[in-house]
Every structure is written in C-alpha cells, then in structure tokens.
C-alpha cells in the first residue's frame, strides 16, 4: 500500500502518519538518530518544558515493574529560554512536525509559556501537560479539576494561536469531565493518557526505590486502562484524540485507533525497540491491505457499538 493511506491531520497539523513520539521519551528528537530517521514519525513531542530550568528529581529515577516502567524524571529540562535560543533552530533538521509539551506550576506560568511559543515557526503546536505525576506543585493537581482545567486552557488558548493539544491523566477519576472542559476551553485535540502515579518499595532497604518515592507508570501494563480511557473520551468529545499508553506494536496501535484515537503516541516502546515507528507503520499498512481498507482514517472508532 502507498504511504498516503496513513496521512493524518490532527489539530490542523499535517502529518505523514498518525504516529507521534511521546513527550519525555524522545528527548528533543535527536537522540535516536543513529538508530532511525526521526522523519519516520508523524510528529515528535519534545520533553516537558518549563518556564525556568529544572534540575529534576534525585536518582534513582527509574524502576521496572511487571510489564511496566515507573519514572520520576521530575521534568528535568533547561527551560523555555534555552529551548528558544538553542534548540528551536535545530528542529527543522528532524524532518517532521515538532510539538512542545509545556508544564507550569501556576496558571500564569502556563500562559507565559504559551505566549513565548506563540508564532514560533519551528514549533507546530503545543501539548499542554496538565497531568505530570512527578512534580509537586502544578502538574497533576491541575488536571483533576474540570473548572481549573477550563480556566487553564482558556488562558493558554488566548496566548497561543496555533494547534493546541491538552494532555490528560487517568488519575482524575472523571477524565470525561476534564476532557469536556478542555474542549470547551478551545483545545484542538486531546492526548491521553499520561503516566499514573505508582510506587515500588525496596524490601531490603525498606524504603521506596525511587528518589522521589513515587513515579509515573508507563508501558504495556497500563495499556488496557488507556484503551478504555480513549474509548470513553473519544465518544464524549468531537475533537481528535491522540491515544497512548503501552503501545508496543501495530496491533496495539490498532486497538487505540479502533477505540477512537485519531493518532497514537509511543513512548516506552522506543526504549525497547527504536525501530517501533517504522514497524508500526508497516503493520498498519498491512492491516489495511489485508482487511480491504484504503485509509487508516476508516478505522477510527470502528470498534464502537453501532459503527
């Protein structure tokens, strides 16, 4: 099948395929270049970026769990000023649209980040992280309250005219209400799910393994929860949903698409298999051909009752 069967437009961003490199798992897009051409992605979302540089959490920052990974990076990043000065100019080398994932500690920080990125040509859009489980202030607390999410997204929307994606957490309990609030406030798309807060205890040392005590769970362990979240949210909102959580292979990506994802993001799987975007594209094409579809778009939400 020709490549065009995977072309996608999400929140006004034209992408060669519906695969997105998930924030925090692909650096600024350059680290995997020796393994695979970054242009094979539909889009890349860079590491969570904050107003001021952040040192991040003390190590250990990672611990493996059954079919999952807990991370507590703590949004280590050099800050928006550094990004704009040094990283921005190199982004066009990547050969695909690049989105910036932003995280603030206050509503005003989110607004200022959005304003600083408004009109920046090299950046195709924003992903607003209201759901990072690894920062003390801001982060998760914003993401659980639909009223606060509405207010936050309104402010970002005023400050930023480009494509705006809001990234949701499943921890809210009421993910559908939060999704509706974000959409009402002007989000062009939603991405979900972020990692879920977890903990592993070192029984020999009798304390949590991670330097930050808790971390965010990603990887296949999470996948059934993420598919369910996409299923629920995509039926409640009319904007496109970018699904993610434990996608390792084409079959997993198909689950998300059939559940209602217009695009899928891939994080942890890159650590296991850097060729994953290419393999999934190939797998999607094969599935389309084998099952008589001409474009992946026809599959979106097809597992829903009545489709």
């Amino acid at each position: 099948m020709s490549d065009s069967c995977l072309s996608a437009t999400i929140a006004g961003i034209t992408m060669a395929n519906p695969l997105v490199a998930a924030s925090g798992c692909y650096g600024y897009g350059f680290d995997y270049r020796h393994c695979i051409d970054p242009a094979c992605w539909g889009a890349i979302v860079v590491k969570g970026t904050t107003l001021h540089p952040r040192l991040g959490n003390p190590p250990p920052r990672l611990v493996e769990t059954p079919s999952g990974l807990l991370n507590a990076i703590g949004l280590q990043n050099p800050g928006i000023a550094y990004f704009l000065k040094y990283i921005r100019v190199r982004l066009p080398e990547l050969g695909c649209p690049v989105l910036v994932n932003i995280a603030g500690e206050t509503l005003d920080e989110y607004r200022r980040l959005a304003a600083l990125l408004n009109g920046v040509d090299e950046v195709a859009g924003l992903e607003v992280n209201i759901s990072c489980p690894n920062v003390k202030k801001g982060g998760i607390s914003f993401g659980c309250d639909p009223a606060l999410v509405y207010e936050l997204v309104c402010r970002v929307r005023e400050a930023y005219r480009g494509p705006l994606i809001v990234k949701l957490s499943l921890e809210a309990g009421n993910i559908v209400s939060v999704a509706e609030a974000a959409t009402r406030a002007g989000a062009d798309a939603l991405s979900l799910i972020n990692t879920i807060k977890g903990m592993v205890i070192d029984v020999q040392k009798r304390r949590p393994v991670l330097g930050n005590s808790t971390g965010g769970l990603s990887g296949p362990a999470l996948r059934p929860l993420a598919v369910r979240a996409v299923w629920e949210v995509s039926q409640a909102v009319s904007v496109p949903v970018i699904g993610m959580g434990g996608i390792m292979q084409a079959e997993d990506a198909l689950q998300f698409i059939l559940a209602g994802s217009a695009a899928v993001a891939i994080g942890t799987a890159n650590f296991v298999n850097p060729a994953v975007p290419k393999e999934i594209c190939d797998g999607l094409k094969r599935y389309l051909a084998d099952n008589g579809f001409t474009h992946y778009r026809e599959l979106i939400g097809l597992a829903r009752p009545g489709s």
């Binding site: 020796h34 250990p60 493996e64 942890t268 393999e279």
Partner: protein, 268 residues
C-alpha cells in the same frame, strides 16, 4: 538511515562459557561492533516478553577483531541475566550499540592502575588487553567476596594478564577488599599515572577518596538502571558537583566513564 542501521544489530551467540560462580562469558558474532573501545557498552534485549520489559546494558568485555566477535561478561542477578545465561549457541540477540564514551588517555609515563570490583572486571579486562597490545604499562586489581566468584587463573593467563586479586574471605590473593589492596599499594609509595575503576558505587566512592588523598586522577565507570541508553529519557542520571553546583548527568550518554572527582557520591 533505517532500522537495523548503525546502532541496531541482530547477532548470533557463538559461545557461552561459565567462567566463575554465577558468571558467564558470551561471544557474539558482530563484525559491525568491533570498532568499539573500552568503556563502551551495548543495550541488549533478553527475550520478547514484556516482563522483563526493558533492555539491559552490558559493557563490552572484549573485541576480537579477527573473529568479528564482541564478548560480554555477565553476572546473573535477576531475570534478564538469568535468561541470558540459559541461552545456547546459535541464539540470536538483539542489541543496540556501541554506546557511551570510553576510558580516556591510553598513553602515559607511569603505569595506570585498573581497579575492578566484581563484575566491574568486564570493561577493565578490555582496557587491560588494549593496553597490553599497545605496550602500555598497567596493573590490574580485582576484588570479590570469595575466590569462587572470580574467574580462575586460566581466564587471565590465556590473555596474558596477571591481575592482583583481593578476596574478602582471603581464599585467593590479598585478604580484604580491592579498595584495601589499592590503599596498601598507594601507601607503599606507588604512584600510578591514573586510576580506572569500575564496580559498585560505594567502592567507587572509596577509590575516588583515595585518589584525592594520593593526588591520582580517577576515572570511574558508573552503573545505573537505563531505559533508552541513548540520552533521550533522562532516567539514568547520576549527581555531579561542577564548580560547586549540583548537576545530573546521563550515565548512558555523558558517560559511563566520568571524572571521579566530580561525582557527588554523598548525595546518593
């Protein structure tokens, strides 16, 4: 650039030999990796299940350019290493590499001292053989809890290496830790050009302390749990103190070999 490019390899396991208690040497046919230097590592996938999920990093233990082989030296500590120890020749391994930086400065007036704790031997054996081949002077110090946890004499003899052993139970060589042995050597007036150390973090901290006391530069090869191993995830960092400022550096990409003096051991 495409998958199975420069850094992604499927290699055949050519030989697997038990060299000490719970410790195995693997030889992989991997001509594309024979340009690797001592200190570098590969990131290896053990099996296709999602449990264990992540790849595992292993130092390159030796490169046999003629045979087109790289060697690994693996101590069984958990599921991935135990799965690797059960492989049979002919098995195919999926690995990423060579990754990371290398031990610096191979040519110097005085002998270098290579200090290995346990499986820390893996990269220092490679460094030692390279120095031997280049005619550069060095001493190899190797410590372990018991004699049986260290490879036997033949393992070293056939490589032309004469390590000084230290065992805590005194069953082979010096009785004590490899740090005690190093201390004795430095106290006795030896003045190596530099120390290359690899082993558990507490051991490295003590080696760096000794280096400071005796004014010998120390290079350490650090271990850390890794996810990406290419610098993308910021998961493997270790704290450093640079000009009095705390800084986290990626073991996979900025290391694994670091200037020991800058490592901020007290922080951990």
């Amino acid at each position: 650039m495409h998958p199975n490019s420069d850094f992604m390899h499927r290699c055949e396991l050519v030989d697997l030999t038990r060299v000490a208690q719970g410790c195995f040497r693997l030889k992989l046919y991997a001509p594309a990796l024979t340009g690797a230097e001592p200190g570098q590592f590969v990131h290896l996938r053990a099996g296709s299940s999602t449990d264990p999920l992540l790849r595992r990093p292993f130092s390159i233990h030796y490169v046999d350019q003629k045979a087109g082989e790289i060697w690994l030296l693996i101590r069984v500590v958990g599921p991935a290493t135990s799965a690797l120890s059960r492989l049979r020749p002919g098995a195919e391994l999926d690995l990423l590499g060579p990754l990371g930086n290398t031990f610096p400065a191979r040519e110097e007036a005085a002998a270098a001292m290579l200090v290995a704790g346990g499986i820390g031997l893996a990269p220092l054996y490679f460094l030692a053989r390279r120095r031997l081949e280049a005619g550069l002077a060095f001493d190899l110090l190797l410590g372990g809890a018991e004699g049986s946890s260290l490879p036997g004499d033949a393992f070293f003899d056939c490589a032309g290496l004469k390590p000084m052993l230290a065992t805590e139970d005194g069953s082979r060589g010096f009785k004590g830790t490899v740090v005690d042995l190093l201390k004795q050597r430095l106290e006795s007036g030896e003045k190596p050009s530099r120390i290359h150390a690899c082993g558990p973090v507490p051991m490295l901290a003590r080696v760096v302390d000794l280096g400071k006391i005796y004014a010998v530069p120390v290079h350490i090869s650090l271990e850390s749990l890794m996810a990406c191993a290419v610098g993308a995830c910021l998961g493997c960092v270790f704290p450093f103190k640079i000009n009095g400022m705390l800084e986290y550096r990626r073991v996979c990409r900025d290391g694994p070999v670091f200037n020991g003096e800058e490592a901020h051991f007290n922080f951990v």
